[in-house]
């Protein structure tokens, strides 16, 4: 219906629009190339041999494609990769970094999603927390993470061990632990969950819940069986969104977990400062591995992002 109308109006404007059509595509293609180039360069570098990483003139495509970089970071081949001792030490860590990233990101995103959805439901239906709660929650997200990181470092590494030693007689530190990082990720993504889930739950009509309540369903049953199935796709989008945020988080992971827990972005940074100069190839391989799942998830939720990102500001 809409398309037909549009087609008609376009026809009347056609004489004015025709030259612009080509300009439009030229501009769009230039921007598309600009968007794709750094990603292309990274993937291309990840398949290059050591001599080609920074050769002059640079090779746009690897002349002799090799998976050696991937072998090195996953340490498949062991000794024959030709890397020095410290580099192989790093090499054994990618499995751990991958596992750590997956574990911390998945669990903290799940925790934030469940808590945030429940709270969003209560805020939407009962006005818990006052009228401007949704904006108050957003302020937490706007605080720069470095300002959070310094207090948290002091808290995790000094105050907690200090107090637990006096009270319980044992030093308990949250510095460099899964729990410490996970809790922080939960707190920093909660505002997003509340904000996004509010916009989804606000759309669900009251009447269904009233009916369920009249039939004698408990609050929990109503929430779980009536409301949540209606916002299930919204929950998936929210989960993927905050998972991507946690997956790419760098500052908090860098500052609060040094030797023990290490996420993938921190691992990439370690390769940067490795002793024997920069290992461009393995870095490119790690970068590709970090980026790939997120790009795929992003393409999956893209349609929902376009719909959801006006934050309900414009109404049709």
């Amino acid at each position: 219906m809409m398309a037909v109308e549009l087609g008609h109006s376009q026809r009347s404007f056609r004489w004015r629009r025709r030259p612009f059509r080509y300009v439009r595509h030229v501009l769009l293609i230039i921007w598309a190339l600009f968007c794709l180039f750094p990603i292309f360069w990274m993937v291309s570098t990840s398949f290059k041999d050591a001599g080609e990483w920074i050769s002059w003139p640079p090779h746009w495509l690897p002349q002799d494609p090799t998976v050696l970089n991937y072998k090195q970071i996953f340490a498949f081949a062991g000794a024959d990769t030709g890397l020095s001792r410290s580099a192989t030490d790093h090499a054994f860590n990618i499995w751990k970094a991958l596992g750590d990233s997956l574990l911390v990101c998945t669990l903290s995103s799940l925790a934030a999603l469940m808590l945030g959805t429940w709270l969003a439901y209560c805020v939407s239906r009962f006005g818990v927390g006052g009228r401007n709660f949704r904006y108050a929650v957003l302020t937490i997200r706007m605080v720069p993470p470095i300002v959070i990181a310094i207090p948290i470092l002091i808290y995790y590494a000094i105050l907690l061990p200090y107090t637990t030693e006096h009270v319980l007689g044992r030093r308990i530190s949250l510095y460099d632990t899964y729990l410490g990082l996970g809790l922080l990720y939960t707190v920093t993504t909660l505002p997003f969950v509340i904000w996004m889930m509010l916009s989804f739950i606000d759309e669900v009509p009251f009447t269904l819940e009233h009916a369920a309540r009249l039939l004698g369903a408990s609050r929990f049953y109503t929430l779980g069986r009536v409301v949540l199935p209606l916002v299930a796709s919204g929950m998936v989008v929210t989960f993927l969104f905050i998972f991507i945020l946690n997956w790419s988080e760098f500052l908090l992971a860098l500052t609060l977990t040094q030797p023990g827990v290490s996420t993938l972005p921190v691992l990439l940074n370690k390769f940067q400062s490795a002793v024997e100069g920069r290992l461009y190839g393995p870095q490119a391989a790690i970068g590709t591995i970090i980026t790939l799942p997120v790009l795929i998830l992003g393409v999956l939720i893209q349609k929902h992002l376009i719909k959801g990102f006006s934050f309900g500001m414009i109404r049709k």
Binding site: M142, R219, F250, F309
Partner: protein, 304 residues
């Protein structure tokens, strides 16, 4: 009555849990930071023996020219990067607002950079700016006739390094402004434009008189969100330049990180982060105020 109690529990439970998390993980550490900022303490000495020193740390921060330089640099980076991103994002969204050939493919590609992990963006651009990297090669045909060697160390020059950071930021976050504007354009009501067309308004008039005013809330959102994020700039400056050359790309977040994690100046860092939070509180309050105002005016128009 038991039923009522359980109902109230259901309502207040998540609120209490979330508030407890916020208080133990954000408010309590922050009170501790205020206390520590009043001490004279470095990480290499035990915490219990630190001397109380009043406001000396705050004075030291305010007297440090590097603090102000880093703050000014962050604000100017943010201003330049955000205005470029808004302009480009708006133009791209406008080009793709109507159905065109390959629209979905374009959108998928344009949203790509947003999904790339910021650390990886820093790494990617450091690859591109290498003296024997693709940027040098692309400029080679232009530079070689003048006898300039194309193998320029881009990141060794302060201005070029600053431009490099801004370019990396523009590359990544134009996709977000594009996304926000695109969702704004797709939510525009068609009836008004139709009516204006029928009444003989030109494309130009339709854009300035109808579309732009309707898009104002979306523009405010984009400005607020992007400015807040741009002021936090940290990842690319670690991976791309490590604050260098000299302190040319040292943002405020990087400056603070360096004071605490490289120089172990805990009390100094605590004082600086309190001052920074106070400054940010003003900005955040302004941003939230703008968001709320846009939303309420919209509600009124919607009802009326």
């Amino acid at each position: 009555m038991a039923w009522l109690g359980r109902d109230r529990l259901f309502r207040l439970m998540p609120f209490i849990m979330v508030e407890a998390l916020f208080i133990t993980l954000l408010a309590l550490p922050f009170l501790l930071t205020i206390y520590i900022s009043l001490l004279h303490w470095r990480a290499n000495r035990p915490f219990e023996q630190a001397m109380f020193s009043g406001l000396v740390n705050f004075e030291a921060v305010l007297a440090d020219p590097e603090f102000w330089a880093a703050l000014g640099r962050t604000v100017s980076f943010a201003a330049i990067a955000v205005s470029i991103e808004l302009f480009l994002g708006f133009c791209l969204a406008m080009l793709l607002a109507k159905e065109t050939l390959g629209r979905r493919l374009y959108i998928t590609i344009f949203l790509g950079p947003m999904m790339v992990v910021p650390v990886v963006v820093g790494y990617n651009f450091s690859m591109i700016y290498v003296d024997s990297g693709p940027l040098s090669q692309m400029l080679a045909p232009v530079l070689q006739p003048f006898g300039i060697s194309p193998r320029i160390r881009w990141l060794s020059h302060p201005t070029a390094a600053q431009a490099a950071i801004i370019l990396a930021d523009v590359w990544q976050w134009t996709s977000l402004t594009f996304l926000i504007f695109l969702s704004g354009f797709s939510a525009l009501p068609q009836e008004l434009t139709k009516a204006a067309q029928v009444m003989g308004a030109s494309r130009w008039q339709i854009f300035w008189r109808i579309e732009l005013p309707l898009l104002k809330p979306v523009i405010v959102i984009a400005v607020v969100i992007r400015s807040m994020e741009a002021l936090k700039l940290f990842d690319p400056s670690v991976l791309l330049t490590f604050g260098g050359p000299g302190t040319a790309t040292q943002t405020i977040a990087f400056y603070l990180w360096r004071q605490v994690w490289q120089f172990n100046k805990f009390s100094f860092g605590a004082a600086a982060s309190i001052l920074l939070l106070l400054l940010f509180a003003v900005v955040i309050y302004g941003g939230i105020y703008l968001l709320v105002r846009e939303r309420t005016t919209l509600r009124h128009e919607g009802n009326g």
